[in-house]
Each structure stands twice: as C-alpha cells, then as structure tokens.
C-alpha cells in the first residue's frame, strides 16, 4: 500500500508569539518549531497500515520554506520512506497550499492520502478536504481510526456526540485526529537512518488563497477573576455571582 502524508512545520504549542511589524505575520525568531501534532497522527497511521500490510511505501510531502526540510526529516525519522519538499517563498495557506499539493500528487501513484485534521498555527482545518476536492477523490475528515480491505477504507469520523462510520473507495483522503494512532518517537536509529533517506526539493509557486489576512491582533487578555472562597462553603456565594453578576444561570 502506498501512502502520501502531508505535513507542516508549525510553532511549538508552548511558543510565545509576537506579531511582526507588518501586523500580518508572526515573528519567527526565537520560536521553536515542530511537526504539526495532528500530522503526527497521520504519519503514525500511514506507518501502522504499511506495517500491517507487510509492504508498501510512505511518502511525506510538505509545502513551505527551506526550513520545512527539518520537519520532513522528523517524518523520515519516524519511519517514512521518502520525502518531498515543495519549496515556496513566504507563507501560503488554505487553497493555495491545496493547489500546490494537488499539482504534485496528481502525477503520483497512491492508495491513501493522509493529513492532520488541522494545523495548529492557522487552525484552518481545510487543506485535506480541499486537496481531495481538487484531485476529485473521496475524503473524510476528523478520522480517529480506519481499516483497509478490498480496495476500500472504513473510517471512523468524529461528529458531535458520537461518530460516523464512512466507507471510502480508494484512493481517498483522510484527515486524522487523535484516536487509535499514538505517534511513535523517532529512535536514534531512525534519526540516523533518516539522514540517508531521499528528500527531494522542488520549487513551487503558491498563488492566491482567495483570502488575505488584513491584521493580526492579540485577544484581550482574560483578567484573573476573583477567588470566591475556600472549600464547599464558598459554593452558595459562587452560584449567587453566576446568577446575579454574570447572569449565566
């Protein structure tokens, strides 16, 4: 089975972010970057299914600047077989990224196209379904677990208050969320092996995404409120505040 996993380099979840002078982007200096946590679920799922099938190939693809090679090395160290960096100048997102990916993927042979459900920087949750649409293949998003049999994928997709079981014809795209695939750590051996694995770089042009960021701002800081009291005896006072001051009850 051949899988393609699309991955993104994102600021670490703990990173403190500063808006740059243009008010439209974030300062990269001093920020630690990681492989997008949701993409880790996708890489893990691809590896698990390859292992279960006993054969196959896992290709990691990223759209981004030269630094994204580092993110691809992480995927290779986890166990992906090869990687492709579609090198763009500047930040690209949404439809622009989907177009670059679709252009690359349409010439490839694959059974499964995997994504993280969302990237934790733009929080967009769109590149997977958009790429699938541009490729004209079926897709399911927010998948926690799937099985493969007879050219079909049966995927469990999170919905409000439960989940849906979706059956998809292959090739298909899935966007992964937390569930059955606990990402493995890259072993030292894996990291060493990754250095020798093929990582191809190609120049790509990301066009218009159809939306532009006009301005970034910091949300108003939540003010630390009031400690109403200690222990259970403070409960009536809390409820009184919720009812009379906050008016939420």
């Amino acid at each position: 089975m051949k899988s393609i996993v699309c991955v993104k380099r994102v600021p670490d979840t703990e990173a403190r972010l500063r808006i740059a002078g243009d008010e439209k982007s974030v300062e990269a200096a001093g920020v630690k970057f990681v492989l997008n946590p949701y993409d880790e679920f996708a890489v893990e799922a691809a590896l698990k299914h390859k292992e279960a099938a006993g054969s196959g190939e896992v290709t990691a693809i990223s759209v981004g600047g030269a630094e994204s090679a580092e993110t691809l090395r992480t995927a290779l160290a986890m166990g992906a077989d090869n990687a492709v960096l579609l090198k763009t100048a500047g930040r690209a997102e949404g439809l622009a990224v989907a177009r670059v990916l679709a252009e690359e993927i349409k010439g490839r042979e694959y059974d499964l196209l995997l994504f993280g459900m969302k990237a934790i920087d733009d929080d967009l949750q769109a590149v997977g379904p958009m790429t699938a649409e541009l490729l004209g293949i079926p897709a399911a998003s927010a998948v926690t677990e799937f099985s493969v049999a007879d050219g079909r994928v049966t995927a469990h997709r999170e919905i409000e208050g439960g989940h849906e079981v979706v059956e998809l014809r292959m090739p298909c795209a899935l966007t992964m969320t937390k569930g059955a695939y606990e990402p493995r750590y890259a072993s030292l051996k894996g990291i060493m092996a990754a250095k020798k694995k093929p990582l191809e770089e190609k120049a790509a042009t990301a066009g218009d995404a159809g939306v532009e960021t006009r301005k970034l701002s910091y949300p108003s800081e939540r003010q630390a409120g009031r400690i109403v009291g200690q222990g259970a005896d403070a409960v009536p006072a809390l409820l009184k505040l919720l009812r009379e001051e906050a008016k939420v009850l």
């Binding site: 439809l95 997977g128 649409e133 439960g162 849906e164 970034l216 939540r222 009031r226 259970a232 505040l241």
Partner: protein, 326 residues
C-alpha cells in the same frame, strides 16, 4: 439577485441549533449589505423542519430532498451547494463550524475556487467587503481576514452568533436535486447511536470539565452529576491528561488536540490550566475554576474560583444547582 448563502445542517430530520446561528449571522450581514438570506437545507424528510429557518431571518429557504441525502455525503452536498452558489452568485457563503460544516465548507470553497476561513467569531462589513475575525494559533492571536475575490466561504463557530428570532416568515422553495448514491466515493454507513443523543461538548452552553485532579475514572461521576444538575444544558468535558489515561473518550477532550469550545459557562474542576487546554476554552464567556492549588494557572484566566478539594465542592455544587433550578 445575489444574497447571503446559509447552509443549514439537520440531524434526524431536525434543524440543528448551529444552523439557526448560521442563519442569524447571515441575517446580520444581509441587513448590512442590503441583500437577502438564502438558506439551503439538504436531507430526506426535512421539508417540515426547514420552514422554521424563516424565523431566524432566512428570506428564502431552499429544500433539497433526496433519499441519498438521508446521511451526509461530502461529494453530493458539495455538488448541489456549489452549483447553487454559482447560479445565484451569492455574496458570501456561511456554514456551521460543526464536524459536518468543516468537512463540507472547504470542499465547496475548493470547487468554487474561493477563499475559506473557519471558526469565524465575528463578521462585519468594511467598505463593502465582508471581514471575518477568527482565532489562530490556538486562540493566542486573532486574525481579520477578507476575501480577495469570488464568493468567500466561512464556517461560523457554535455559540457565538446566538439565534435571534425574527417575526418575518421566509418562503420555502424546492431545490431540484438529482443524486445517485452509487456515484459517491464515500458513503456514511452508520452513525454510532446512543452517543448521538448526548449533548456535545463542542456545542453545549455550559460545560463541566474535569482533569487529573479527579483522581480516578470512577470519580468522574462528580463531574457528570454536576453537569446533569443543569438539566440537559451542560456537557461533560475533559483535559487531555484524563483522556490519555483512558478515563474519558477523546470526544470530550477540550484543547489544542481536542475541541475548541465557546460556552457561556465553563467549569474547570481539577484542571491545572496548561496552555494547550486554554487553547480550547479561553473564549468561554465565563470560566469557573475549582482547584486545591491556589497557584494553578487556571486561576489566571478564571472569572471566579474556589480553592479547595473538588471531592467536597462538586457534590455541594450539584446540590445547590439542583435547588436553584428546581
């Protein structure tokens, strides 16, 4: 004539609350732009329920019924909706930022070649253009985005645009849909029942969330009891620590790798308030923290807090809430 497109999601033949919210948001935009709201509902056996959308401000409700639409189909819905938007030349297209909406809306945007933004929490008209506000980086930043052409597609977050009833009753029209399930590459076989009845943490107005401070999975009953005391209005949430420990299902996880929620009231019990947890709940209108550690970071974002043992505080709260709402 163009208009604001609003996609109304149904489940089990009923219009979902997020759909009323989407139509409400569309109404506000339509008034600002001097245009109409065109709501589209797809499904089977939904014509009766669809009419209610007029009450939330839809000028026209278009109902597309097909047996194949008994369950959600990304491909089928995308085809019907994108042709509708193209034919009507809609100014803006709004979807709920629900699991269905977030699966469908980006596909529609890609089909139309339009820009897309998700989880919008504000919509306004600036110089004739619709500008959306949305959180990024797990809510650490807010971004204002505008379309650069075409019909922009937005999904709007639940509990933000609260439904406003409108005396005006919209007209209902039938939308011709000819779809064949055999053409779909993806088919929903089953919706795992039971759970579907439960109020979801992503949509509830009140959330009682528990963390590692609960000490054991059995002890989560304290959280469930308090949620139940709110009489069907509250859902149970969980921190990642307890989901990873297998105490609670991932569906209840709030945070960076869980759900993003915007309830009116968020009660965090035995949750330290790690940055990844805050990413999911910092837009709650009111936050209450219950923690035995007065230095816990959750108190820095909470509106009200009680310092103490949740084993004593939660049962007392459940009692008092029951009394208060009786």
């Amino acid at each position: 004539m163009p208009g604001i497109f609003a996609f109304a999601e149904t489940r089990d033949g009923e219009i979902r609350k997020v759909s009323q919210e989407v139509v409400t948001a569309a109404r506000k935009l339509a008034d600002a732009l001097g245009t109409e709201v065109h709501a589209v509902v797809l499904g089977s056996g939904i014509a009766g329920a669809a009419a209610e959308l007029g009450r939330y401000g839809a000028d026209k409700v278009f109902v597309g019924e097909a047996a194949a639409f008994d369950k959600y189909s990304a491909e089928g819905f995308t085809t019907v909706i994108s042709s509708f938007i193209k034919e009507h030349g809609c100014d803006v297209a709004l979807f709920p930022a629900s699991s269905l909406g977030k699966d469908l809306a980006p596909r529609v945007a890609a089909r139309l070649g339009s820009g897309y933004s998700s989880d919008v929490i504000g919509l306004e008209v600036q110089g004739g253009a619709v500008v959306a506000t949305r959180p990024e980086y797990g809510g650490k930043l807010l971004s204002q985005v505008a379309a650069t052409g075409g019909t922009p597609v937005f999904s709007v977050r639940a509990n933000v645009f609260l439904p406003v009833e409108n005396a005006k009753a919209g007209t209902v029209e039938t939308l011709n849909v000819s779809v064949n399930e055999a053409d779909f590459g993806a088919i929903v076989r089953e919706i795992k029942a039971g759970a579907a009845e439960k109020l979801d943490v992503g949509e509830a107005g009140i959330i009682v969330a528990g963390g590692r401070g609960l000490g054991s999975p059995e002890n989560f009953k304290l959280v469930e009891d308090l949620a139940a005391a709110f009489g069907g209005k509250a859902a149970v949430g969980a921190s990642r620590a307890v989901v990873d420990a297998g105490w609670r299902p991932h569906a209840e996880q709030v945070g960076q790798t869980g759900k993003t929620v915007a309830p009116t009231l968020y009660i965090a019990a035995g949750i330290s308030g790690a940055i990844q947890h805050l990413a999911g709940m910092r837009t709650a209108r009111y936050i209450v923290a219950i923690n035995k550690d007065p230095e816990a970071p959750i108190f820095k974002v909470a509106d009200y807090g009680i310092v103490g043992d949740l084993n004593e505080i939660l049962p007392r709260m459940a009692d008092e809430v029951r009394k208060m709402l009786a």
